[in-house]
């Protein structure tokens, strides 16, 4: 068979009924690409000798090296059967879990799917996944049971055993399909029930009898299943190049044996046997111990061939077989030392796999014009928005084009049809106003131009949507001039796409109702006002995808899969292209795998940062399932679906997109520091008060903080500190905030920021207008705070709030509990009207706040921000009542802002060069004019230190960021999954069984710090049957005390003397401190005697 010419393909593209779009889906290593190879070979693109070895569609280098497919690739094939010519757009998809996004893409573009199952391994996890995906996208599957040769050669099964084995596999596959079907029916049933319940009151009597059937019986599911006698199952060995459907054998034997082929067809698969005497086909082969028909007529032949060719290498017998089958085998093949060569030479002529598969595909899979109604509906209704909500928006548009309205209203058709028609109408309207007479554009097939045509071709139009899904993934290809070119992988759902055509690119979030506000008859050519998620561009190039090559095309009619070039700037991951702005964007793809593996990426050479950023942008565009983000810490984080996917993304980055060396590391894990109430229990859950302390000299819990001189700590945790020039004294107490308050503060960051801004303006006697809504929100926030801060301790606390921190809006509070000091409250924006007597602000008020801000920004444990801590300032004495500022003849007017001015300088001092600092000290010492400047700085430092010591006087705890983790798993892997969870300090919150399936949904929380490699581990341990999804949820206090050492007898017994195994918090703390280069209390060598100290040359 020669190479099919491009013209031929172009001609075929126009005949929608002759197009088959299909993809090959399977578990990893079940032979998708090999099967694709033999199909490709049938078109003469590669030699049939190489089929199965070349893996033509694995075009990437790493795909070839690893031997797994990583990117989907498409190819158009030509196939002739029974006088009909077909164009087959074949997409080969990867089977590995990590690349299931590619599978989703492929499924979206296709109308049918070939499910490949390994005859030895049977149904594997990914097989279930792809079946589910095919089911969800409403595409029709056919089955290929591959690698039957392994049953013969490796497992050495007899043909009888093989038959039972194959039956089992088929049952498994059908069981999966069946369960999908059941769950759907049950879901529908539940929905119906819910509806019924609402209407129950009216006809309760009718509903008396409970319907046990659950609707399963009523719904016909027979056409869902795979069965050889239906012709949707192929038995094959792609590597040896053979494959068949029982049709082929049925026809063959009907001639030989004189039994009608239809009868044979029905009996060839199943429990039937041939009664040679009676010349009859009888039932019950198994019970009578007879060979089933399938074994006798089909498998035995294959077995004997393998026996002759591979096992025994019987030349004569082979020749006999070849002649009896009427085949010609080249003598070169006959003489070849490898029996496999001969085998495939014979088989590929006798039962060519491409023939079997392609004929099945052409017969059993639908053509693009027969897209099922449900699928159209699904495509058009985005997310939660119901399909019904869409038409109203297009309703107006319908009126805009009166020419089409008329024929439409005459027919009573489903809403869906109407919709499609409207789309069509819009498109026509658009076309007309643009005065581009494109007659063929109108419908899927041969539609004459004009409004009348639309009525005539109603049938065709019904299924044609007026746009193509640019279903994603920009297949990176074609390297020219070292620049990457993106080719978008797309399918035309309706109309014809032409080179040079102007189209709208609609992003996934595009809302057609926005565009409909545009003036009537607005066309693509017009310059549009910017509408979110919509762009206008020209189709640069169209390609026919031919595996590794691309062929240029001028236009592509509907129903075809194609590549579009020149869309780099407009498309991110996926988009819908339409000539009509009223077209809704197609539903985003449903991914089985969400990106969860997070790594931080850095260039090897720091100067190459811009290249990395550019490369990551490209990667993000090219890969539907990779996410790229820059974190606040400046890390570039890459999120991928799994380790293999990650590897591929990194390779892509290195070699294609960024072209630099990169290094990968675990992302930085944030922590928070907090204080808690003194615990009542010790580590072994004993009451602390009653315990006898064990006095071992070096194990007594030391006072952790080494308090320097000049700091007084009283028993209640009040810390007092005097500035170094002995002029001011501050006393601060740290109090843990209730959890709800912390959460409240976190949630209302924006409000706090507004309040802060307001008081800043008030500072300068200006007013900031805040709208009423926000004011109400603030009021609400205040009330909530008050309700949460109940009790004796917190009396009036809300009114006394001095500031929030860090950065003025964080989850920590500074309280003003100084007697006799009233300052304007942070709530002053609320009581603007009342304008009470202006509370005076003490000098250096701002220094205290700055000190508080600095203290909350980095805590004493590991310099991480604080959270949920309240610092209450109880005393603040100044030796000198008025700072020397007064001497400087400063006007009274500028007084409020003056100290502010100064202390800022000191705040910056923290960041100043030390040389600068020493200079300022000199100033202070000299007692010059400016000596109060440094004083405010001293006050900040004093305040900061006081806060830190006050913090340390309380029991300190670390807070870890937590992920909530949702895991779907089957019952049999639950145990192993729990093992992984508990190993990583996870906690299960709930587990539920999903109705109608054997899947469990488990909700758990897991510290972010433990999540690195979690997804991979859980997949490995459960052989891919459980897949977690991680979402950041909250901060949680780690129970253990980072400074804890065993002190009681029980604790000794339990943890031993060192107790270094139990303390998670200490581990985290040390890790952070080590990363930051802070001092870690850690011995260089653990055991003095056990070190190697001899130098090497002695």
């Amino acid at each position: 068979m020669g190479h099919t010419s491009l013209e031929k393909i172009i001609a075929l593209q126009k005949k929608t009924s002759c197009i088959r779009n299909l993809c090959i889906l399977a578990h990893v290593d079940h032979g998708k690409t090999t099967l694709a190879d033999s199909l490709v070979a049938s078109n003469g693109i590669i030699s049939s000798r190489l089929a199965g070895k070349l893996r033509y569609l694995d075009s990437r280098e790493d795909e070839q090296i690893r031997g797994i497919t990583m990117k989907s690739s498409a190819i158009s094939l030509h196939y002739t059967t029974g006088g009909n010519e077909y164009l087959i757009n074949l997409i080969d998809s990867p089977g590995h879990v990590d690349f299931s996004s590619e599978v989703s893409t492929a499924v979206r573009l296709c109308d049918g799917a070939i499910i490949v199952v390994d005859a030895v391994e049977g149904v594997c996890p990914q097989t279930q996944v792809v079946l589910r995906q095919a089911w969800l996208e409403n595409i029709r599957p056919v089955l290929v049971i591959n690698k039957i040769d392994r049953l013969i050669v490796e497992l050495k099964l007899t043909s009888q055993e093989a038959f039972t084995h194959l039956q089992k596999i088929l049952e498994q596959v059908n069981a999966v399909t069946g369960s999908l079907f059941t769950s759907k029916v049950l879901e529908e049933r539940a929905e119906k029930d819910a509806e019924a319940q609402s209407s129950c009151t009216e006809n309760s009597s009718a509903d008396q009898v409970y319907d046990w059937s659950a609707g399963l019986e009523e719904t016909d599911d027979s056409d869902l299943y795979f069965s050889p006698d239906r012709g949707n199952v192929v038995f094959a060995s792609a590597i040896d190049g053979w494959g068949f459907r029982i049709h082929q054998f049925a026809e063959m034997y009907s001639q030989k044996m004189g039994i009608r082929s239809s009868v044979l067809l029905k009996t060839l698969w199943g429990d039937f046997y041939l009664n040679a005497k009676a010349q009859k086909i009888m039932k019950g082969a198994q019970s009578k111990g007879k060979k089933p028909l399938f074994v006798q007529l089909v498998l035995d032949n294959i077995w004997s061939m393998y026996d002759a060719v591979v096992t025994r290498r019987d030349k004569e017998k082979v020749e006999k077989m070849v002649t009896s089958l009427g085949l010609k085998v080249m003598s070169r093949d006959l003489r070849h030392s490898d029996p496999k060569v001969l085998l495939s030479a014979i088989c590929s002529q006798w039962l060519p796999v491409s023939q079997a598969v392609l004929s099945m595909v052409c017969e059993k899979l639908p053509c693009p014009a027969e897209i099922s109604a449900e699928r159209v509906e699904k495509l058009m209704s985005v997310g939660a928005r119901r399909f019904d909500s869409l038409p109203e928006k297009t309703q107006e548009l319908k009126k805009e084009s009166p020419a089409v309205q008329l024929p439409l209203t005459q027919e009573e058709i489903s809403q869906r049809r109407e919709l499609a028609r409207q789309r069509h109408a819009e498109r026509q309207a658009a076309n007309q106003s643009a005065e581009s007479p494109r007659s063929a554009d109108a419908g899927g097939t041969s539609t004459p131009a004009g409004p009348a045509g639309s009525a005539v071709t109603g049938k065709n139009l019904t299924y044609a949507l007026c746009a193509q899904t640019e279903a994603l993934s920009v297949k990176a290809a074609v390297e020219e001039e070292s620049k990457e070119h993106f080719v978008a992988f797309a399918r035309v759902y309706s109309g014809i796409i032409r080179k040079g055509q102007k189209v709208f690119v609609l992003g996934p979030k595009y809302n057609p109702s926005l565009a409909l506000r545009l003036p009537e008859g607005c066309s693509v050519a017009d310059v549009l006002p910017s509408i979110p998620h919509m762009a206008c561009c020209t189709v640069d190039r169209l390609y026919l995808l031919m595996g590794r090559e691309l062929e240029d095309l001028d236009e592509v009619p509907s129903g075809n899969v194609l590549g579009i070039g020149g869309m780099e700037e407009f498309i991110l991951k996926s988009a819908t292209i339409s000539t009509s702005p009223a077209c809704p964007p197609f539903t985003p793809l449903s991914f089985e795998a969400t990106p969860i593996v997070r790594v931080a990426v850095e260039p090897k050479h720091p100067s190459e940062m811009p290249k990395l950023v550019r490369g990551m942008r490209l990667l993000n565009q090219a890969d539907p399932c990779a996410e790229v983000l820059i974190q606040e810490t400046g890390e570039h984080v890459l999120v991928t679906a799994g380790e293999v996917h990650l590897q591929r993304c990194l390779d892509d980055l290195r070699e294609r997109f960024a072209k630099i060396e990169i290094s990968v590391s675990e992302p930085i894990i944030p922590f928070r520091e907090t204080v808690i109430r003194p615990p009542k229990m010790d580590m072994v859950n004993e009451d602390l008060g009653k315990q006898q302390k064990v006095a071992v000299i070096h194990q007594v819990k030391e006072e952790q903080m080494k308090i320097p001189e000049g700091v007084q700590v009283d028993s209640t945790g009040l810390v007092t500190l005097t500035t170094s020039n002995k002029m001011a004294t501050v006393g601060v107490r740290a109090i843990p905030l209730p959890e709800e308050v912390t959460r409240l503060l976190e949630d209302n960051v924006e409000l706090i920021r507004t309040m802060e801004q307001f008081s800043l303006f008030a500072w300068e006697d200006k007013t900031l207008d805040i709208n009423q809504k926000i004011l109400e929100n603030i009021q609400d926030f205040k009330v909530k705070l008050e309700s949460n801060l109940q009790g004796h301790k917190w009396r009036g606390a809300v009114e006394h709030i001095w500031a929030f921190g860090p950065r003025r809006f964080g989850p920590n509070i500074l309280l003003n509990n100084i007697e006799g000091y009233r300052r304007p409250s942070v709530w002053q924006c609320l009581e603007r009207e009342k304008e009470t007597e202006r509370a005076e602000i003490r000098d250096f008020d701002n220094s205290i706040v700055s000190g508080f801000q600095l203290a909350t920004l980095s805590g004493p444990m590991c310099e991480e921000p604080l959270m949920g801590v309240c610092f209450s300032v109880e005393t603040w004495d100044m030796k000198i009542s008025v700072p020397q500022a007064q001497q400087d003849s400063v006007d009274e007017d500028s007084q409020p802002s003056e100290p502010n001015n100064d202390d800022q300088s000191e705040r910056s001092d923290m960041h100043e060069t030390s040389s600068n600092r020493s200079r300022s000290r000199a100033e202070a010492a000299g007692g010059s004019v400016d000596c109060y400047g440094p004083f405010s700085g001293q006050l900040i430092a004093a305040m900061k230190d006081t806060c830190r010591y006050a913090f340390q006087a309380k029991p300190q705890r670390l807070m870890a960021a937590m992920y909530t983790c949702e895991i779907m798993a089957t019952a049999e892997v639950l145990g192993r999954m729990y093992a992984v969870l508990s190993k990583r300090e996870g906690r299960v919150l709930q587990e539920e069984m999903k109705e109608g399936t054997d899947m469990f949904i488990i909700k758990a929380v897991l510290p972010v710090a433990e999540s690195f490699g979690f997804a991979d581990e859980i997949r490995k341990r459960t052989s891919g049957l459980a897949s977690p999804q991680l979402v950041f949820s909250h901060w949680e206090v780690i129970g253990s005390d980072p400074f804890w050492v065993p002190t009681t007898e029980e604790e000794y017994l339990h943890f031993g003397e060192k107790a270094d195994s139990a303390n998670q918090a200490l581990k985290y703390r040390n890790a952070v401190r080590r990363r930051k280069g802070l001092y870690v209390e850690e011995k260089l060598v653990e055991h003095a005697e056990k070190q190697r100290t001899l130098s090497k040359n002695k």
């Binding site: 090897k604 940062m609 990551m616 942008r617 790229v628 001015n901």
Partner: protein
């Protein structure tokens, strides 16, 4: 041992000698290697893990033990453990390679952390990560000096890094209010210190007769003191200056698109 074996060299392995001169006499103690610093920092609490023996020597390698009289006259006690503790705390020793290495490593990381905290990538206005800074520091062959403060070295290294990568001190965001009278004049003086002026505003204040110039601008933190001084001196305390943010960086995560 009674039999003197003719080995020509005696090697002390795993011994670190801590010396101290007191009362005109030299005292030495024999400790384990890599342990003395841990003891001094408080990480090691077990004295037996530090001392080979609690004997005090005059010369460790020769095995000459210090005399009791000398000890009691120099230290005023005969408790050997107590004396050892004193020598451990105040004596001089050769810092072993691993101790030095870990100390320098720690300082190196500390410097990198300080640099990362203070600086941003001027293009994205986002900080660099510590590991990236570390790598950049290695690239320019920066070597840590153990006797200089880390902060000081960090400021030096920023200048050096600027030649190899795009890095910048994070700017401060300031706002000043100047009286109009001095405003014009001051502005010219401030101009060279200010990186970018984001917003300039003339405003009639309510009660005051002055016209105020409100400026929101970004400056390099090194110039802050100069600006502060300028404004205070030139306007005689009428101009105000406030820091809106110490570090002008982008906040929150950003998705690259």
């Amino acid at each position: 041992m009674s039999i003197f074996t003719p080995t020509n060299q005696i090697r002390l392995t795993n011994v670190a000698v801590v010396r101290m001169k007191k009362g005109g006499k030299r005292f030495e103690i024999a400790c384990y290697k890599n342990k003395v610093m841990s003891w001094r920092s408080g990480a090691e609490k077990d004295l037996d893990e530090v001392l080979q023996t609690n004997t005090v020597f005059v010369n460790v390698s020769k095995g000459q033990v210090a005399k009791k009289d000398d000890l009691s006259s120099a230290f005023g006690t005969e408790d050997l453990t107590e004396i050892c503790k004193q020598i451990l705390a105040k004596g001089e020793l050769q810092v072993s390679d691993r101790e030095r290495q870990s100390q320098l490593e720690q300082m190196f990381r500390d410097i990198a952390t300080i640099v990362a905290e203070k600086c941003v990538n001027p293009e994205t206005k986002r900080p660099y990560t510590v590991s990236l800074i570390e790598r950049a520091m290695k690239d320019i062959h920066f070597s840590v000096k153990a006797n200089k403060s880390t902060k000081q070295q960090a400021l030096e290294v920023i200048k050096q890094l600027q030649q190899s990568i795009q890095i910048q001190r994070a700017h401060m965001r300031l706002r000043f209010v100047l009286p109009a009278r001095d405003g014009k004049r001051l502005k010219e003086k401030l101009r060279p210190l200010i990186k970018t002026v984001e917003n300039e505003d003339f405003d009639e204040q309510l009660e005051m007769v002055y016209l105020f110039i409100v400026q929101v601008c970004l400056i390099d933190p090194g110039c802050f003191r100069d600006i502060d001084e300028l404004i205070r001196c030139e306007t005689k305390g009428k101009g105000t200056l406030e820091v809106l943010s110490l570090k002008d960086v982008e906040e929150g995560d950003e998705k690259l698109e």
